[in-house]
């Protein structure tokens, strides 16, 4: 195997001798990674090698190192002998955090973005994409090299952080939590940056995206300094609270599931078009919703009474409504034809077709998928209200909650459904990409909110606009009034008489194309593929991945 060039010192000037000794140390890390085996992601291995030779990387490393030393000396000089008995540890930790935030919040994510964009610019992306690496591996490799960089920066700062511990005033757990937060934030930002990198295929979007990315990262950089600063100052009390740890755990659930979702989406962005790019994403959405509901249920059961049930139902309905609207706007923009490759793995049994069809790619199945999930939540909410209405507190009141569930459900069903119909109509004349489809949904919502506003404004003599049935196409105002001013403010009963049937009609109108999408049957493997499968895996008897497939097997025999 290649040995990394550790003889750089031989042909470098004396001023670079320190750099080269660092390079030797780093190349040790490289050698260690090498030994870690062939199993490592190829991109990770290559980019680690590149980073070790890159001036930008070693340069930033030194700047961080020097900044830490200067900060340390400054504090020691300012506080003088009091450094021995004062508790300067937490101040120092904040200073070092600010220094660490620079590479972790800005440099690492931006390099991740650049490394993907550079593959496109330097024509290596084509070469990479026709290797046998999967798109998931490509994203994972890029993330992995971001993690390696993070670890190197962390190790540069670690002696200083140990120093803060010696200064007293800060405990080890606080330091650990700060490092964990930084790590997670940097990893998450790198993934987002990679997602932006996969979207940037045209020069023009690339420029806009990189500007937005830099602005976003800069904002995160400052925000992270303030947040971590606040945390360090309050950590003494935080760390003793149960809710703090429970909150962290809940946050971790959200983080992990969202991470998986974005990772899958970024991989899908660069996958070839006949690949099934939707089903994995839908599965993660489903899991994410289950986690959310699980946490809400857990939080409720931890309390003695059910008086917060109403609030919990309201919050769940609100978040999941928004969630499924946003996801639905994307799913209903999918392409309505299934590739032959996707058709090979469609569910076949009756039960499978009933429950798993909605995980198949396609705007119709996507619509039903979102509506089904949302309906499940709404129905659960209604049942819970039915059983426990007597023990719930009065804010929000029971009828507010009921109407919120019904009207909110109707709005989501209507807007997603009408949007989907518009997209399929537009597709008869022009090519509508997924982004365009999503924008169409947004425009639909804006028009529905804005149009009655304009009409009312023009017809009212003094220019003030009151809520009326005219505004029922405005879900934002309607639901806002319902929550704040109660059900009478919007004539909720009349409204649900109109909206619920409207939602059902939209649902029915969509059923025609949904059933068209359901017509797809599993197609046979091409002979050549079956041949190779038999060669590669001599035992084609695959284990059933779900109970329905077993039934399917039995029925085949």
């Amino acid at each position: 195997m290649t040995s990394l060039p550790s003889s750089n010192a031989a042909n470098s000037s004396p001023s670079e001798s320190r750099v080269s000794s660092l390079v030797t140390v780093l190349s040790q890390i490289g050698a260690w990674l090498e030994a870690l085996g062939d199993r490592a992601n190829p991109i990770l291995v290559k980019e680690t090698r590149q980073a070790l030779k890159s001036r930008q990387f070693t340069g930033t490393f030194f700047i961080v190192l020097v900044a830490c030393w200067i900060a340390s000396f400054a504090v020691v000089a300012i506080s003088g002998p009091s450094v021995y008995y004062g508790a300067e540890g937490s101040t120092m930790l904040i200073v070092y955090s600010a220094i660490l935030a620079f590479p972790l919040m800005l440099i690492v994510p931006y390099s991740a973005y650049r490394s993907l964009a550079a593959e496109q610019e330097d024509n290596t992306y084509d070469l990479l994409s026709i290797t046998t690496l999967t798109t998931g591996q490509i994203i994972a490799g890029k993330l992995g090299s971001a993690v390696v960089q993070m670890l190197v920066y962390l190790s540069a700062v670690s002696p200083c952080i140990a120093f803060t511990y010696l200064l007293r005033g800060v405990d080890a757990l606080t330091i650990l939590m700060v490092l964990v937060y930084f790590f997670l934030a940097s990893l998450g930002l790198s993934l987002l940056a990679l997602m932006a990198g996969t979207a940037a295929k045209v020069r023009y979007t690339q420029v806009i995206l990189s500007v937005l990315l830099v602005l976003g990262l800069a904002w995160f950089f400052f925000a992270s300094i303030f947040l971590v600063g606040g945390f360090i100052q309050e950590s003494y009390s935080f760390l003793r609270e149960t809710w703090f740890w429970v909150g962290n755990l809940a946050f971790l659930t959200v983080y992990v599931t969202t991470f998986a979702l974005i990772h899958a989406a970024a991989s899908a962005q660069i996958a070839f078009s006949s690949e099934n790019r939707s089903t994995p994403i839908r599965r993660i959405m489903f899991v994410q919703q289950a986690c959310f509901v699980g946490w809400v249920a857990g939080a409720l059961s931890a309390e003695d009474t059910l008086k917060d049930l109403g609030g919990a139902i309201f919050a769940s309905a609100f978040f999941l409504g928004l969630y499924w609207y946003a996801m639905g706007a994307l799913l209903t923009s999918e392409w309505p034809y299934l590739s032959r490759r996707v058709q090979r793995s469609l569910p076949q049994s009756k039960m499978g077709r009933m429950f798993l069809t909605w995980f198949n790619p396609g705007p119709g199945t996507g619509y039903v998928f979102c509506v089904a999930n949302l309906s499940m939540i709404a129905i659960t909410g209604l049942i819970l209200i039915g059983f426990f209405s007597s023990v719930m507190t009065t804010n929000p009141s029971v009828d507010q909650l009921l109407y919120f569930l019904l009207i909110g459900w109707s709005y989501t069903v209507i807007f997603l459904g009408v949007g989907r119909l518009l997209i399929s109509l537009a597709r008869r004349f022009v090519y509508v990409s997924m982004t365009a489809g999503f924008l169409l949904h947004v425009i639909l919502l804006l028009v529905a909110c804005g149009l009655p506003q304009i009409l009312a404004f023009m017809s009212s003599p003094n220019g003030s606009v009151q809520y009326g049935l005219l505004h029922m196409t405005n879900p934002i105002w309607t639901l806002y009034l319902l929550v704040n001013n109660g059900s009478t403010a919007i004539e909720a009963a009349t409204l649900s008489f109109i909206l619920i049937p409207a939602a059902l009609i939209v649902l029915l109108l969509n059923m025609r194309s949904v059933s068209a999408e359901m017509q797809y049957q599993r197609s046979l493997l091409p002979t050549r593929v079956a041949e190779e499968e038999a060669e590669l895996h001599p035992e084609p008897e695959a284990k059933a991945s779900n109970p329905w497939e077993e039934e399917e097997k039995a029925s085949e025999q």
Partner: protein
């Protein structure tokens, strides 16, 4: 019985097959209804003027682009439905070089070997043998940014064959190579074909293709105008050989005589020298010469030149540009 891929059991499977392939870019018809097959051990030459659709069809085969209609198969796998399987057995050398910063020749090859899932000693052996094959051994530690055009071209070819693919698609591999490197490249390709690989190669330098290709396809504006061996195409394109004739003294009587013959066209003359196109093979030419001599003309030179690939190319294509 023919199966889903359209092959009969027992029939030799082509390693490359284009089946009614179309690729439009808006109004531009880059590839229009192209079909051909290339079998193991064959070198297929792709000839066509600029913008003919060579790169486009090669990119589709390499799973980098998708056809508007039709399909292409590599070792029986569709490039649309099973690009993952196609990629395992295909090496594509584009007409550009993809470069990474701070990477040397060995690391570059090592990276792609890893990316094709090769591990441990297998990978080391592959990198070693590719460097030997492309004669890049001495440059192993050289950063790839600093390589010359020809060296890059070799490295590119090396990368293409790192995973020992059964199918090689080479888009203008000889561009920018010096004459010696060209001969070497030609030998390399011949060697690869001997190993049983199917090679699809495009080039503008026709003499080069004529020597190494078992078959050539001439394309223009996305359409395949002719496929076959160089001889077959020459024959099909009603190739006339060009004859040069020199007489001892004044050629005018002979000119008058020749213009009476019906298999002679394009007669031009300059003092004693005449050139004309003659339909028919060598036998007919020998007959013609005897007739001329028997008619009493004094011939000092009679040379006939069969058409080169270049002539065929110029004859078949029309220089259309879209």
């Amino acid at each position: 019985m023919s199966n889903a891929n359209g092959f009969h059991p027992g029939e030799r499977r082509p390693l490359i097959e284009l089946r009614r392939l179309f690729r439009y870019f808006g109004e531009t018809r880059a590839v229009e209804d192209m079909s051909f097959k290339v079998y193991a051990g064959e070198v297929f030459g792709y000839i066509g003027p600029n913008g003919a659709g060579k790169t486009t069809s090669m990119r589709i085969l390499a799973t980098l682009d998708e056809p508007t209609a039709g399909d292409a198969f590599v070792d029986g796998f569709s490039v649309i439905d099973d690009p993952d399987r196609v990629r395992r057995r295909l090496g594509f050398m584009p007409d550009y070089f993809g470069t990474y910063q701070n990477v040397n020749v060995r690391e570059y090859l090592d990276f792609f070997a890893r990316a094709y899932g090769m591990r441990g000693s297998e990978r080391r052996r592959a990198v070693g043998s590719v460097m030997e094959f492309t004669m890049l051994n001495k440059l192993a530690e050289k950063p790839i940014d600093g390589l010359s055009k020809g060296m890059k071209q070799r490295l590119c070819l090396g990368r293409t064959m790192i995973h020992d693919p059964a199918v090689l698609i080479l888009d203008e591999p000889a561009a920018g190579l010096d004459p010696r490197a060209r001969i070497e490249l030609r030998e390399m390709i011949a060697q690869l074909a001997q190993q049983g690989k199917a090679v699809l190669i495009s080039s503008h330098i026709l003499t080069e293709l004529a020597e190494i290709c078992d078959k050539v396809g001439i394309i223009e504006t996305g359409q395949l105008l002719a496929v076959g061996t160089v001889d077959e195409i020459s024959a099909k394109s009603q190739a006339k050989s060009q004859v040069r004739l020199r007489t001892l003294d004044d050629s005018r009587p002979l000119r008058a005589w020749l213009s009476q013959q019906n298999d002679i066209t394009n007669l031009t003359a300059e003092a004693e020298l005449m050139t004309f196109n003659h339909d028919g093979g060598q036998k007919e030419q020998a007959l013609l010469l005897r007739k001329i001599v028997e008619a009493g003309f004094e011939v000092v030179e009679f040379a006939s030149k069969t058409k080169s690939l270049e002539d065929v190319f110029l004859h078949v294509t029309e220089g259309r540009i879209q």
